[in-house]
Symmetry: C2
Subunit: 377 residues, 2 copies
């Protein structure tokens, strides 16, 4: 992996697209207005230097982390400008040219890019049916970045046994795991696994959370939970980097959480994702029976494996002409010659009544792009 | 300068304190609400990846840069999370361990800290009556960071001749100047000097602007103007760092500028600063005649030089007990043994009718702290 890949890296992500009908506008409007009342403004208009909104920290503790089984004190939490800044801050503090970082392959491209901008030693680690595998490559890694809740992009939820095995490995080898719990809120269900961080007894899991999948990606709100020594350093570095995330948004988000709007939104999103996911899977089975589909309860996307020889780059172009957006899957792979037969299909933003027609159009695009070796219905 | 100074560095800045009566709350509320209307939300709720709000860019061009004599196309501008992120991004792209960076001494501490976190070679450059001096140390610097509009913290406005001389030096030696125009908006008057960037014909000035001094520091809104090649790299790095500044705030700020609220606010702030500055200077002359005062038209602070032997750290503690906040000036100096006789006094946030009593209280605190060698009235 070339360290300056990030500069040339195309970013065709469509995943951030949102369904306006799912946006919590009335609640956000109410909270934004309240944050603009005279008494609230005094709290946030000034420069917080390196501080965070105390109410937001409290709400992250009680409304977000507690559900994930994570109990953290205020000095173990730092608010960031989205999960992206969380990963960047962690990389800036922990990763240098001599550090080896393991990333999932396939995995989130910008996590790989962030690490590759800091060190030439980014190791692409293989997955298996339980998510990140206990592979021989692991031992070379000082830090390992993983998405155990919904592996990005395959949606695998890591079972408890693998989580414990990874923690035991980290403990035995004195390594640190970086848990990107980017979809925590939507994915949360009664039977959901608690976060890897909740099993961590030795402070060797650095946890990253985000409100992008619920509140709106454009608002850029994330957070880090880690040992207080690391948070202290991250806070000092964040001060240099940008001082603090915009404080008006911190207060609005705090109110949004405190008034229960976020809990209600979670329920709505969970229901929508479950309903839409089931429709997408059923439509794929009907229209594209040769495509292997991987999703999970509460996930907001499907990971699709088209038959050998398929080219999802070409398919994405044809599908877009038909009004359907898919993400070609090659960007998730670390190698120079990534496979072209995968794609990610986000469905959180697709209105329920448009799903069947959309998948039919995708199948039509697949026929149009053509692939003689494949039986297309 | 030790490269990791920033970790231990105390940050006693009080400058970011704001006067709630000067905050443009009604206008900001209206713009925030409009940004939350259905049609606007579609524009910003999604992930912009590495994009900026097009209306904000246009408003920066027409309402902010044009007044400073700077004409830039959209691909020469990048929005940042405050001027701090602008400086951090520039340092991340341009400064490595082998780079020498010149900073003003005294100067903005976090600019020095940002550079010192990237390279051991940060050169403290002396000032004279025209601001940054043409000193021998200049030639060692690959990049020079300066605040020509209102030198931070001395408030010196650099005359045209010095600006031209610095540009000629940069041109002859193939060096780059980084202009931090942090107080552009308040400082703007009929007779104000245009920005250094406006004189730049060879693309060797990187310009940093901010809305913190007008809109509110807590909102964290800044921007970089530079050659499009540098902006392209900065945009790619910003994507890794945090993707983009919160898009709801970008849209609200764009509307705030477009509706003329910012222009009106500028006039109000300019008037308040002129009025308050004159009162502060008069009260200082009366109550602390041995203190040398340096301010400038449109500035929002005074730089105070107390007599030799004074200790403004002790004074700040005593003054705070009397309800007056001053910034001890030693933090602005680069050396290990900074002088203790300087202080900065921000007055933008002090209500007009409290100024005379406040300065009298400051003089009382100075008497209380005591200094036998000084004649105190």
């Amino acid at each position: 992996m070339k360290p300056r890949d990030w500069q040339r890296y195309p970013y065709p992500f469509l995943y951030g697209q949102i369904d306006p009908s799912m946006l919590p506008i009335p609640g956000w409007r109410e909270c934004s207005l309240q944050a603009l009342s005279g008494s609230e403004v005094r709290g946030w208009a000034g420069d917080l230097i390196d501080g965070d909104d105390a109410l937001l920290i409290e709400q992250i503790q009680t409304r977000l982390l507690a559900r994930r089984g994570v109990f953290a004190s205020a000095d173990e939490i730092l608010v960031t400008v989205g999960a992206q800044q969380a990963l960047f801050l962690i990389a800036t503090l922990l990763v240098g040219p001599a550090t080896t970082v393991g990333v999932e392959d396939p995995g989130y491209p910008d996590a790989r890019n962030i690490m590759a901008a800091r060190t030439p030693s980014v190791v692409a680690l293989p997955l298996d049916a339980s998510g990140l595998a206990l592979s021989p490559g692991l031992d070379a890694c000082d830090y390992v970045l993983l998405t155990p809740s919904h592996q990005c992009p395959t949606n695998t939820t890591m079972p408890l046994g693998r989580r414990e095995a990874l923690l035991a490995w980290a403990q035995a080898r004195d390594r640190v795991l970086i848990e990107d719990d980017y979809e925590l809120e939507i994915g949360l269900e009664g039977r959901a696994q608690p976060a890897l961080k909740s099993l961590d007894r030795s402070g060797r899991v650095v946890y990253v959370g985000s409100l992008s999948k619920t509140l709106a990606p454009g608002i850029r709100m994330g957070y880090i939970v880690a040992h207080r020594d690391l948070i202290r350093e991250a806070r000092a570095m964040r001060r240099l980097m940008l001082r603090h995330p915009p404080a008006n948004n911190q207060r609005s988000a705090a109110l949004f959480l405190a008034m229960g709007y976020h809990d209600a939104l979670l329920r709505r999103l969970r229901q929508a994702c479950a309903e839409r996911g089931a429709l997408v899977v059923a439509a794929l089975e009907r229209h594209l029976p040769d495509v292997a589909v991987s999703t999970a309860p509460g996930a907001s996307s499907c990971w699709l494996r088209f038959p050998d020889g398929a080219d999802t780059r070409a398919l994405a172009v044809a599908a877009e002409r038909a009004g359907v957006l898919i993400e070609p899957g090659d960007v998730f792979f670390a190698g120079d010659r990534p496979p072209r037969q995968y794609a990610r299909l986000g469905f959180a933003s697709i209105a329920t009544d448009r799903i069947a027609a959309g998948i039919a159009a995708l199948a039509g695009a697949f026929r149009e792009v053509g692939m003689s070796s494949v039986r297309v219905p």
